[in-house]
């Protein structure tokens, strides 16, 4: 089956004036997102996440390259009716939350009675049922972001494109959104989630891509990215003669990592010392470590948007 979302060798140069020196925000960016997966689109600020999303939705044009969304080229208007989009900085409107959701649903061709029901349902799902008739101007940023999520789902989209959807949410709301997204995946939707909140991504995404200076520098499942096949973590207790070098002692357990080649020796040492072996597991970094290693300390790819 074809990809839900596919970026093919996209390059985007921004220039202030037609004659001024271009700034390259995307540089040969290629990525295929499978149908039915939750894809985590990671990258430091300014790496080009928002730019690629805007190109996919036809809000801006690529300088070079192309791509498809649900099998149709970027910018294909009827296809956009089957997409849900949440922009990075959700805009404030003058109208009430429910009117706003209905306006966006209507623009995507959701028929009247269904629109009414779904609006109510979705505003309830994002915990805004008490303020549906209040103007969104008076909302907090977190509330507006939740309205934005309701808008993104109003047309029951096959593909959800969410640009940092939880950046303004409190922890409780984040959990709620996570549930919402997992439910959407159960229904067979594809979710393309841009974020720099690593813990979020780690919890729900099937695959991750890391963007850096407009290029995809890493792609894989969470475990592919985090597990180091050539290192193991050893956990033991009751070691006579003290813990080995570099080990961390905690609650009576000692934990340390060894290269694969030294695994056997390490285990034998535990037994020799009269210790009890608790576990031997592939060593796992956290996403933050991987992210920082890959993108380096100097992680900004130019002036901030």
């Amino acid at each position: 089956m074809d990809a839900a979302l596919s970026f093919q060798d996209l390059t985007k140069d921004y220039r202030k004036w037609p004659w001024s020196k271009p700034f390259r925000a995307l540089d040969g960016f290629t990525l295929n997102v499978n149908r039915g997966e939750i894809f985590g689109f990671l990258g430091p600020n300014g790496s080009g996440k928002t730019t690629s999303i805007h190109i996919a939705l036809g809000l801006t044009r690529a300088t070079r390259g192309s791509g498809t969304m649900l099998g149709q080229p970027f910018g294909h208007v009827p296809t956009r009716r089957r997409i849900g989009f949440l922009a990075e900085n959700v805009a404030y409107h003058h109208i009430t939350a429910s009117k706003l959701v209905k306006l966006h649903g209507a623009l995507n061709g959701v028929p009247g009675p269904l629109l009414r029901d779904r609006t109510k349902e979705l505003l309830q799902a994002v915990d805004l049922e008490e303020v549906t008739d209040k103007p969104t101007q008076k909302f907090s940023r977190g509330m507006v972001q939740r309205v934005g999520l309701a808008i993104a789902m109003i047309n029951d989209p096959e593909l959800l494109v969410l640009d940092e959807p939880t950046s303004a949410l409190d922890p409780a709301a984040r959990v709620q959104v996570r549930e919402l997204l997992l439910e959407a995946r159960r229904q067979g939707k594809t979710i393309f989630l841009s974020s720099h909140l690593l813990s979020e991504i780690e919890l729900i995404c099937d695959r991750i891509g890391i963007l850096h200076r407009g290029r995809l520098i890493r792609l894989g499942t969470i475990s592919e990215l985090l597990e180091e096949r050539d290192r193991f973590e050893i956990r033991a207790r009751n070691l006579a003669g003290g813990p080995p070098e570099g080990a961390v002692a905690e609650n009576g357990f000692v934990t340390w990592t060894v290269p694969a080649a030294a695994q056997r020796a390490a285990i034998e040492r535990v037994w020799a010392a009269g210790g009890e072996l608790i576990s031997v597991t592939p060593s796992r970094k956290n996403l933050e470590q991987v992210f920082l290693e890959l993108t380096g300390k100097d992680s900004t790819g130019g002036p901030q948007a």
Binding site: T51, L59, T60, V77, A87, A91, H94, I95, L103, A106
Partner: protein, 236 residues
């Protein structure tokens, strides 16, 4: 067609205040004239401020059409709207139509107020054909405004669009031939001024047809232009 109406109403709703202020102004004027029975104002005295209000009915949509897009981009509301299954030309048309709603509301309110004054005083005014002509002028002025407003800062857009409307009029007033049918917003407004609502509107009906055709052409042009524009950053 529906998408255009949704967009138009959404823009129109944002201009509630403008519309209300214009209507209130019309009503206040009407009140003044109806209540001043003692010193019995002349018919011409009533016509002059109303002629001015007709001018607003053309100028307001012109101003709005140069500005609305800029505000949408600045607030990033445009990203949410244009990411839906709608075409750029529908957005442009909806925006222009919102300007026409403002004009139509203003001109209709004005017409009703004058009609009322006319009946009250037993005067004869020639209101509706003149207001119809004013609406056509507004449609053309709005189309010019949208064309510039979709890619320029409103200040620049207002200046250029205003200039574009003034140049053909200026040329034909210097008896340079062939310009009197080009973007005839000013000529139409002048025919209304000349009749002053006291005489039948005396303009050439062809002028209106030509104006509408030019408005449609400009909207088409604006759509072509706007379809190529990045809407992700505000115009500086």
């Amino acid at each position: 067609m529906r998408a255009i109406l949704y967009i138009a109403f959404s823009f129109f709703r944002q201009q509630k205040l403008v519309v209300l202020v214009l209507l209130a102004f019309t009503l206040v004027l009407l009140g003044v004239f109806l209540s001043e029975s003692a010193n019995n104002p002349a018919k011409t005295e009533l016509a002059i401020p109303y002629l001015q209000l007709i001018g607003y009915g053309i100028f307001m949509p012109f101003l709005l059409c140069t500005q609305m897009m800029y505000l949408e981009r600045k607030t990033r509301r445009i990203l949410g709207i244009l990411s839906k299954g709608i075409y750029r030309w529908q957005y442009i048309t909806g925006l222009w139509l919102a300007g026409m709603f403002v004009s139509a509301t203003q001109l209709t309110g004005l017409g009703l107020a004058m009609q009322l004054a006319a009946v009250w005083r037993g005067w004869e005014f020639h209101i509706w054909p003149a207001l119809g002509a004013a609406f056509v002028a507004a449609a053309l002025a709005g189309a010019v405004a949208v064309t510039f407003g979709c890619f320029l800062h409103p200040m620049v857009a207002t200046f250029l669009a205003g200039g574009l409307l003034a140049v053909p009029y200026w040329l034909s007033s210097r008896s340079v031939g062939g310009f009197d049918m080009l973007l005839p917003v000013v000529p139409i407004f002048r025919t209304i001024m000349r009749s002053a609502l006291l005489h039948p509107w005396g303009g050439d009906p062809w002028l209106l047809v030509v104006a509408l055709a030019q408005a449609a052409l400009l909207l088409y042009l604006a759509s072509l232009l706007f379809a190529r524009i990045d809407v992700t950053s505000a115009v500086e």
